[in-house]
Symmetry: D3
Subunit: 139 residues, 6 copies
């Protein structure tokens, strides 16, 4: 047998966080008009479900693209420990100047993970904000 | 046919909220010891899934225990509109003096709904804080 | 070890059917007012998820309350073969004179199953009409 | 930070509808042979789950590819209001001359949505007919 | 507010295990006839989903029936560490003389947990062997 | 209407199997270090969820890319009947010399299916080992 194509490996993790959507360059009225109830100054929150996809060739000796235990540890260390049971706007460095929309959270998670993975592996992030709303980066 | 037993009708709704667990009669150290990361002063949040169970006899003319459209409107008005995209500790009256654990949120929701339903219907609340943690009131 | 309490066994099946809600004793206006879009004369449909619960003592030799293969065959024969890919109002005997609400469908399924099971086993039906609306009979 | 790649935003909606599979150019025997129980003249039905994927660059001011509230309104207006609690064969214009297979329903939904979205956004439809059968258009 | 009724708290955990169904008092033919493919001498396996329900009164100071972190640790120590990635028939003491049907696994888990919990709390186990087959003990 | 793009059709099936991860070229210590609890000599097991994606143009007469009943039969015959309630290492030919990681199982399933499908259809396999770990081949 000769495994000629790449394989993707997925790992799901989750974190529970508070956030609000807000653009500091806009006045309250515009923030309220654009972000609606997501702009609530007292925050609201979500159970975020994070799906990390890593793509590459299978190692012939292990049968793994990547050991999911190692992948899970990387996600835990770089993302979950920093985001879980936190207020994203206040307690996560990147969101001090970036609106924590699902799109931007996925983008931040991608950047936290991409340099911790071997260079020959491709990375994609899917983030579920709710069962009905989710995003994927890069598309 | 003679429908001799009671039937239960379930309706699921959801709300996304921020909260923290905290007992004001305790010092910070004890709050941290008991509630751990749930005690974070900046709040965290959840996608709460709410399951409302109403039990009674079926009406022979409609075939309904209760019209779920009416049940959904009652839940929307009494609970979702007040809890969704809110900070439970700050913005929901009952939690100004009550710790918003899943147990207490279910208890508060029960009390918000029980008087809005016909007297001959029994009510039970199940509340999912996460996929792995949920409560039921009354048991 | 001495297994002193009863155990419940659950089996999930599903069927896809068309139906409409309608009371022939009412005029069109009242049917429309009470049943709304569920009264559509051309029918609509659902993926019904059926959960059958059977309760009794475990048999010491098999370790089964009931062999779920046998339970599944009973459900298949008495319910799924008659309901799946059918129009409930037109093609299922009991609904020629009974409104196929979720409550009544659960009641009909209970009655189709109860006599096909051993007398010492209790039966309960849960029927999901959608992910958000479901019923249980008997309560 | 410089968000160099495109992001996808997903929105899930649902509708409950009746349908049957039938080719008017074939006789009853061939329709029955090809479409089996899905050919039932009295219709059957499904809880269709619709996943709409929209791909484009994130807006720097909002942090959105598209406001999901706006996306949800477009889907509601162009699809759900016309398909939910309907008989697809009888009540949806496009299926008067098109067999409502999952493939064709996804295709019709794509065409209903594509012109209502900004030109620089890509669109993809995933439609679940059941938990086990679903389609994606375009592939 | 006076919380007059009991509340139930649920915690979900999971374990992945191999097993086979077999009664050593029967010959191979009878074992095969009764247990079918579950009797395979080389074993098969499942992702078991375990739901533990604990019922009691809420503590006024914590707002907890039981701290789910503590409950989770008890389940981890008494069940998951002993069952996960194990062969139930060979490696779990109780199944050396007890057929590991879902009913019996739930019974064994109940007995492993009941004495580790405070006396004033009621315990119930639900165990999912697959998405379609699950049991509850005590009923 | 002119269906200019390809459509994908998905079919989900499942099988319950035992396996262990092991490289016969390594000693026990290295196998234990790399594969951890998955290396258990007595096996463990999973409820594998298999998602088969087939992509091609829709047939104008049927409205199908492929009849899912036919697709399901192919999967049943080539995969499920050979994998379900089996020990993958011992009873499935390909794993006698190939470590049954999720990556390799997806690869084997791909090769079992690809020649049984029409040449103009593309094939992709997604395999869920658990709710949190899954793979896709080819990527």
């Amino acid at each position: 047998m000769n495994n000629q194509f790449k394989t993707s490996v997925y790992r799901k993790e989750s974190f529970n966080a508070a956030h609000r959507l807000h653009n500091p360059n806009w006045d309250d009225k515009k923030n309220q008009m654009i972000f609606g109830k997501c702009n609530n100054a007292n925050f609201h929150g979500h159970n975020y479900e994070l799906e990390v996809r890593v793509t590459g060739f299978c190692d012939a000796e292990t049968g793994y693209v990547i050991d999911v235990k190692i992948l899970s540890d990387i996600i835990q260390h770089a993302v979950i420990n920093k985001f879980d049971h936190k207020n994203l706007n206040i307690e996560v460095e990147e969101f001090k100047n970036l609106n924590p929309t699902a799109e931007n959270i996925a983008f931040v998670i991608y950047n936290r993970l991409v340099n911790r993975l071997p260079n020959d592996l491709d990375l994609k992030i899917r983030l579920y904000e709710t069962r009905k709303n989710y995003v994927e980066y890069p598309a």
